[in-house]
Structure formats: C-alpha cells, structure tokens
C-alpha cells in the first residue's frame, strides 16, 4: 500500500474536518470504545426515533484512520434503521475509506463501527437508555 493510497485526500479531509463531531446532548444511547494498543478512543452518541438512527455524533482521539473512519461512518448511518446498521461489517468500513487497510490498522478503521454496534446492542437490551 503506497502512502498516497493510505492518506488519500478524502481521508485527510475527514480527519481534519470531521463530520458529525461533537457531543449529542439529547441521545438514546452512547457507547465508548478504545483500542489500548493504539490509544485510539471513540465515544458515539445516537438519537433513535422509532427504529431509525435520527442523529449520531462522535468524539474521540487517535490516528487519522480511526478518526476519519468514524467521521465517514456517521455520515452513512444517519437515517438508517438499527437493523441496517447492525448489518454493516468491516468490509463496509474499508470500502468507505477506499484504501486497502493493513492488518495492524484494521482495528483503527473499525473502532467506531464496533462502538456503534455495541451501543445498539446495549440499547436493545435496555442498558444505558437515555444516558
């Protein structure tokens, strides 16, 4: 994987100008996840209406891949049903990033998706409802 593939413009754009970034005050569930090996951290907060992700925001810190992936993910999941989000997998995230992701950094790439899916699972189980 060449450098230019790794840091294509789109990723740097999302890294430097993350979408849906910040703290959602009115939310249905939140989930924090981290990758201690890399030090990447993501907290996702989402507002659910009916069965749909009405709004989703994230905060976090970490490498450009983890933060850009979180930004890209929040863009595509807004308006999707919870069931649709649960169908997403790591290949979808890699597709979003548009680059081949090596074995070490795949964990950075999927951190936000894992957090979101765990948040939905907890929401379904009635854990952590409305904060």
């Amino acid at each position: 994987m060449s450098f230019d593939e790794l840091y294509r413009e789109q990723i740097m754009d999302h890294y430097k100008n993350p979408r849906n970034h910040g703290v959602l005050e009115n939310f249905s569930f939140k989930f924090f996840d981290n990758n201690p090996l890399c030090g990447d951290e993501i907290e996702i907060r989402a507002l659910v209406e009916g069965n749909v992700l009405k709004d989703v925001r994230f905060t976090g810190k970490g490498c450009s891949i983890s933060q850009a992936a979180a930004s890209m993910l929040t863009e595509i999941v807004k308006g999707k049903t919870l069931a649709e989000v649960q169908q997403l997998n790591r290949d979808n995230v890699i597709e979003l990033l548009g680059i081949p992701v090596g074995p070490v950094r795949v964990k950075c790439a999927v951190l936000s998706l894992v957090a979101l899916k765990n948040g939905i699972a907890e929401f379904h189980n009635g854990v952590n409802k409305n904060g």
Partner: protein
Amino acid sequence: MSQMFDVCKIRNDFPILRTKINDKLLVYLDNAATTQKPKKVLKSIKKYYETTNANIHRGVYKMSEEATRLYEEAHAVVGKFINAAAEEIVFTRNATESLNLLAYSLCSSLNAGDEILLTQMEHHSNIVPWQQLAKQRGLKVNYAEINADGTLNIESFKSLLNNKTRIVSVTHVSNFLGTINPVDELSKLAHSVNAIFIVDASQSVPHMPVDVKKINCDFAAFSGHKMCGPTGIGVLYGKKELLEKLPPFLFGGDMIKEVTFEDSKWNELPWKFEAGTPHIAGGIALAEAVKYLKKIGVENIQKHERELTMYALQRLGEIPNITIYGPSAEKRSGITSFNVGQIHPHDVAAFVDRFGVAIRGGHHCAMPLAKLLCVTGTARASFYFYNTKEEIDVLVDALKKAQEFFSMSENSNNLTNNLKTYPNTKNEFSERLKNPSQKTKNEENKNKIKIQGVIEE
C-alpha cells in the same frame, strides 16, 4: 583486534540495506525491535542446513557429532562475549522466554508475602511473567519509580528493597526511553538484601560491552535477533552455582540424564534447561553474529551509536513542537522516543515510510510506562552501527513534511478543539510525577523541561 570502523564497508555486509521502499532507499531505524543480518550470519544458516544438519547430542555418526560440536561451541562463543562460561549460557527462543524461565523456576521456591522489585521502565516481558507468578503464589511486585528526566530514581529503588525482597529484575537499557541504568550499583544494592539480581540485557548486549562478572548479576537475558542473529534464538545467562540449584522450566528430551516411569534426573548444565531439539541453526548463527560484532568491535559500535544519537537529538530538536523523551545524551543509548505535535505516532511512522524510513510508532511494549508519561505512544528511532548521519537527515526531513501534512488549518479546528477536552498530557504527566517529599518545586520544573525536550535545556 577490531578493524578500523568504516560504515560504508559495513553496510555492504547487509544486503537488505539496499532495498527500495516506495522507490526510496530503506532507512532502517527500528533496531530496538530487531536488527538486520549480515551476509556471514545468513551464510552460516544456509551452510548448516546444506552440510551439517543432524540432531545433536544423541547421534553417534559424524554429522551429528559435527552439529553437536558447532552448537556447543556456540554457547562458548556467546558466553565469552559477556565474560561467562559455556555452561552458564542457556539458549532459549528469546529474552522473553529467558525471563519466563526465571519467573517460573525462581518463584517456585518463594512464599506468599515475598517481594519482587522491578522498575517502572520495564518492557512487558520483564513485567508480565513476574506479575502473573506473583498472582499465583501471593507474591508482591514493587516498581521503582523513574525521575522526570527518565532516569531511575535510586532513592525509590532503595526504599523498596527490604528483607522480603527475593528477586530484583531490571532492564539495563530502556527500550522506550533509551535510559542506561547503573546496573553495577543496583546489583550491589540488591545483593545487600540477599536478593537475586537479574538484568534484562536485550538493549545493552548488542550495543555496548557487557561483562556479567563485573556487573555481578545472577542472571541476564537477551535476544539473538537484536544483535544481528536470527529470530528464534535467545540467551539466558546464569551463575553456574545458581543454575545448578534452579529447577528446570521445560521438561522432555535432552534435558534429562536418566528417566524411569517414576522419576527423572536432570542433565548437566546448560542442557538441563534446553528441553527438546533446540534451534541448532539459530544457535550456530548467533555465534557467527557474535564473531561479526567482535570483529567490528563493541566499543566502536558504542562510539558510533553515541555520535548518531547526539546528532539525532540535535537535528530532531530543529522540528517545531517536537517532544523528545528520555534523559540527556550521555545517559542514553541509541534509542530516541519522540512525538511531533499532536500527530499520532502511527501516522508519523506511516508517513515517514513514504520516504523509506522504518521507525516504530506505539507503546513499545511498555504500556505502564507510556501511561505514566501520559502518552498513548511515541515514535521511536533506534540506531545500530550500520546507520549513518545521512539517514538521520532523511528522517528529519520526512518528519518536517509530516508536520506540514498533518497540520490543521485555521478553518478546520474541530478536531484540535476536541483534543483540548482530553487531559493536557504534559500537565498531567508533571502532576503524576509530583513527589513533594523528594523534590522542590524548582527541581520539578527543571526536570519537567528535560523530559519534554532534552534539546530545550
């Protein structure tokens, strides 16, 4: 003895240094992780398998006898390198296995309440085995603190030594900070309470003269692959009288003298600790690596690396917003950890790879130390004798470009704003290192500057 030191000539011995990465000549600066192998070492592996491959110690035919001779001789060569006898050298897979062997075998005779003293700057391999054995046997693990300049706090070390301390295990050189610890002094202190003194020599034996008799350590551990040898072969040194008393760690073939259905008797040293068919080719190749290092001269290696480190500290200091961790040049080896502004170390390492530069980004298998420093990781450049000042120039130029590339523009400060919501790492670090009983406020501040950037002094 040693020849004139000619780095250009030396580089010809390492075919891999001619590799192109992303169309750029490889600049390999991850030598604390593993080192490259000279042709002589590679040839010895090939030669062994092509001409001498046979199992050792049991064959009574010529080829097995020759393999046995070479493998046994390798113990003598490695032993001589650190001033030890052949029978005091046990070949393991790596330093990690050597330390596990010690943890299992030594802790078996300890009692609940006994204490083990480590330092805060240990690699995971010198923490986890002790920590886990301590849990099993009700032992207590203490960690000597580090000073704000990244050196060991000797007063803390002394204060944690007591008549319950049975084992003291300390790294000779920190793989994270590059700190060289005063092991001669620590050895005396440990022995003053009759504790066993162990040195993790993984980052010292490859880079500086190490004399286990002079240090007077009871055991030492290091890895072959960090000293031009192959992976999969490591060393445990132990004083003969202690190895004789120490129970074996792994059981099986070759480590026994006699076996009945009911019981077994152990083989003589060092074979008592080498169960099963060992990495014969690896041991022989490690001896070749040692011969190669001796030919270059360990003093020459140390001198060259010191020059590189001084130069690197000076050049890295040119980079705005760089934080360099660890002590001043005279107290450190050829390992330099740093962070460039807020850029994640993985991004730094991946960026400089574009220019062919291989450095490590992360916690360097010392997560507790990283936590203490309040960093998730650092970028780390580590040198060996085949590195050059020109390679450091390539690194510095690449780091300057990384800084430009990852810089946040005025209009895109969302993320930087957000980063401010996390604890300011520098402040938190100095908070954690606060120890009013031992330091005055002024001393603290002075030290704080040191660790944040040795260049700023």
